[in-house]
Symmetry: C4
């Protein structure tokens, strides 16, 4: 059982000094990065046959590594959730484990059901997200995650109001432009493409109103788009400032408690303490 | 009269525990969401006859529901404004009631005057705004509304200055580009389309200057557009931070008042209090 | 001389209660707004002859009003700068007076030198800026002006660095794309048009790189453009917060000074004051 | 040796009052600015032969000046790093010295190896960065640099996550749009061009999805682009506020230490000090 515990320590984020753990950590990250490279390269046309073969072999090797890693992580799950029940299940349904599973499942699926391997291969890129767990970015990512969690309600409201605005704008624009440009604004859902391009100020230029009233609406939506950028900027700004001031508050309180107690006051004429 | 009061309670935002109220709340929200779906679906061409009929029937049902709801809300208005005069009128001219009226009026208007039903149907989407009253988003919406109200003057000034900038830029650009592209910059109002697209950085690409001086002006306006994004972002940021610091201040003052009074100081040599 | 002083009071921003001053204030604002309307209308083609004549008459009337106003303002200048020398000159070279002069000069210039009336007419729009002096927006405008003045150094640095970035990007892009698209990137100055459109994320779509390395540079500049928006947003945010916290600080200090002095401490056993 | 020390003082940023130093400072800045002008002018086609010759002569002169300046700076390096070893090497590998070298090296390289002078001439523009060292912008640049350094971790994380998002979006979009538009989305790397244009909301309009699912993805990426602008804006805002509050804290602590010591408390009944 000692070995299983040791294996768990190796697979988990390496403590500085634990060479085996660090090596495994960087080894898996390397395989992930190489896999991303392989996905990118295999998207090019007219690859030489040798390179195609090499990519195919690398595919098998990395799936083997990822499958082994996933299996070992499941096997050592009880050490991840010590003293709690259903440790295996807990691990399998955890977010990171789901991503890991998504990275290997596409390979095995064609053996079971008939699916397009190419589409499913995209899921392997999800593995890239694990790089965020790397040590050196941890503090910033943690703070950012804390800020996003703290401002979740406001951000959700912003997202909801954005969706509402897009839907309203599309509905109105559809009725305005449909007769003038039936091919560009065929229905409300298709008009959403214009609404998003305008509100986010992307403005590809493939769809835009040509009627006068349509241009007025488009201008209003574009100007509201500026407010839409300002709102999350304000939310995240205040979130960061709140987080920072809380940290400083905590640091101050800590330093207060560490202070030596004040020297007791002694009344000089009777030698006894005052208070 | 008990029933009328109970009806009012049911129609108002449901207290947790008041099952009837919660059911009615979610029921009406469902009808609103379904109506949005219906508006979207009916914007598609070549719908099968059966679906068209279904949408038409759903239209009649939802108008019946909305009319009933509106009538009941007006009838129970005296409980909304207890002890105040003109309760019915007060309710009818309130913002939410106007939106509710806009949602049902388009249906009845064609019976009275000849209007295009399609255009007026858009107004039904205003009902969607009522979803904002939902419990779970309330705190964030309230805070945001407070921030916007607190910064109203600054935001209005920004809007005013933006309008001014658009007008000035359009006037100048019209004189610059009119002779080079008379079809794209025919007059100052039409040139506003370019000004908005540039200042908001949408840049559809249908209208842009081709003269050298026009390009310089366009570049300046685009760069000012960056400041235009920065200004509301700064206003809203500081608004949020002000709101948060006020909340914290209020919380601190509250906790201060709860503090036990400090122990009184007693002079140890005579046993009497100092101060 | 009393009349001249009274005239000065009337022309200056009206105190609430000074009916004559308020009437003149709003009267001039109305003429300004009507002039803007006239400029916009006269930019349309194919106006009916009667309307053209009407606009021409309105032109003469408003020039007369503006000239009279300008003359009276100069005449009453000594009351604007009481007890200081060169009051007339002081007023004439002041920013607001220059704008007022720009609004009437274009009309008189053709009588002296041969200039294009149309181009110079644009200057009349500068009068619109005076609306900012209106009472109701004053506080917000003042605060914003204070923030911009306080952050002037940072904003200038941002503007300077933006110019630098545009110049560098254009120079590099010219060497990259010139051979591929000599008509779109003919020289470094013309390439600035692409640089501004990319950095501000306007992206009209009339000029964009087609070479691989040009696309890489364009992508980098577009991403830097995001930082460019973030920088002034941050500067203005912190400026507003600084201004607000200063105001609160000032209010706090004021309230502290209003506090009654603390009751003096008296030693209870001898009846004399301690400290 | 006195002369060498004096030379060092002259080359370094001039103290106010040191005329020679200020003259040299502004002289070199003038040469830099003129060089930029020369690079811009020489990018135009069909320049008259005389101007071309003039630019060529100016080229030789400025290279001579820059070479002399670089040589003298290296020679006086021991005064820049007093009492430390390898002063010459230290200076040569410093960032500013590398830029200076880049500005003159392109001229000498063709004598040694065969390179395209035109491309290397761009490097001369790097010299422009030295203008940032100018006195008057120093405080703001320093504060900004401090803020960027303080928020480095967060900014790097944002950059990293942006890269991740671009890569993921490109990979997914490639599989979606490749069959519909094989010329616009030929492989994942080429699809990055679309991803950057969408995420930064530039939207040139040369590449955009035409499939339904591609448009959905494009809309999502554009909306995420808004969050991408908000994130650095929030980071930089909070960075500035942190920097400002630290400065104020430092100023407060300083003023506290400058306070005169409080008058000592004397017990009034025995004339001795308490405490």
């Amino acid at each position: 059982m000692i070995q299983r515990k040791r294996l768990f320590e190796i697979l988990e984020r390496g403590m500085p000094g634990d060479t085996a753990s660090v090596v495994v950590d960087y080894g898996i990250i390397s395989v992930i990065v190489l896999n991303i490279g392989a996905v990118i390269i295999s998207s090019f046309n007219d690859l030489p046959a040798l390179l195609k073969q090499g990519l195919s072999i690398f595919e098998y090797i990395s799936i083997a590594i990822f499958t082994l890693e996933y299996g070992l992580r499941v096997w050592t799950a009880p050490y991840k959730y010590p003293g709690r029940r259903f440790a295996y299940l807990r691990y399998i349904v955890s977010f990171m484990a789901m991503i890991d599973l998504c990275a290997i499942l596409p390979f095995y699926l064609p053996f079971i059901v008939g699916v397009d391997l190419r589409i499913l291969r995209i899921l392997r890129l999800f593995r890239l997200l694990r790089i965020l767990k790397l040590n050196r970015y941890n503090n910033a990512v943690e703070l950012m995650a804390k800020v996003f969690t703290g401002e979740k309600e406001k951000i959700l409201t912003t997202v909801f109001m954005t969706g509402l605005m897009l839907l309203l704008a599309s509905s109105v624009m559809y009725y305005i432009e449909n007769t003038a440009q039936p091919d560009k604004f065929p229905n409300i859902i298709a008009t959403l493409w214009w609404a998003v391009a305008t509100l986010t100020t992307v403005g590809y230029g493939d769809v835009y109103p040509i009627t006068h009233i349509g241009k007025v609406l488009s201008g209003v939506i574009a100007l509201l788009g500026i407010g839409l950028v300002a709102l999350p900027a304000g939310i995240i700004s205040s979130g960061f400032i709140k987080a920072i001031s809380r940290e400083e508050q905590a640091a101050k309180e800590e330093s207060l408690q560490e202070k030596p107690p004040e020297a007791k006051r002694v009344c000089p004429h009777c030698g006894k303490e005052i208070e």
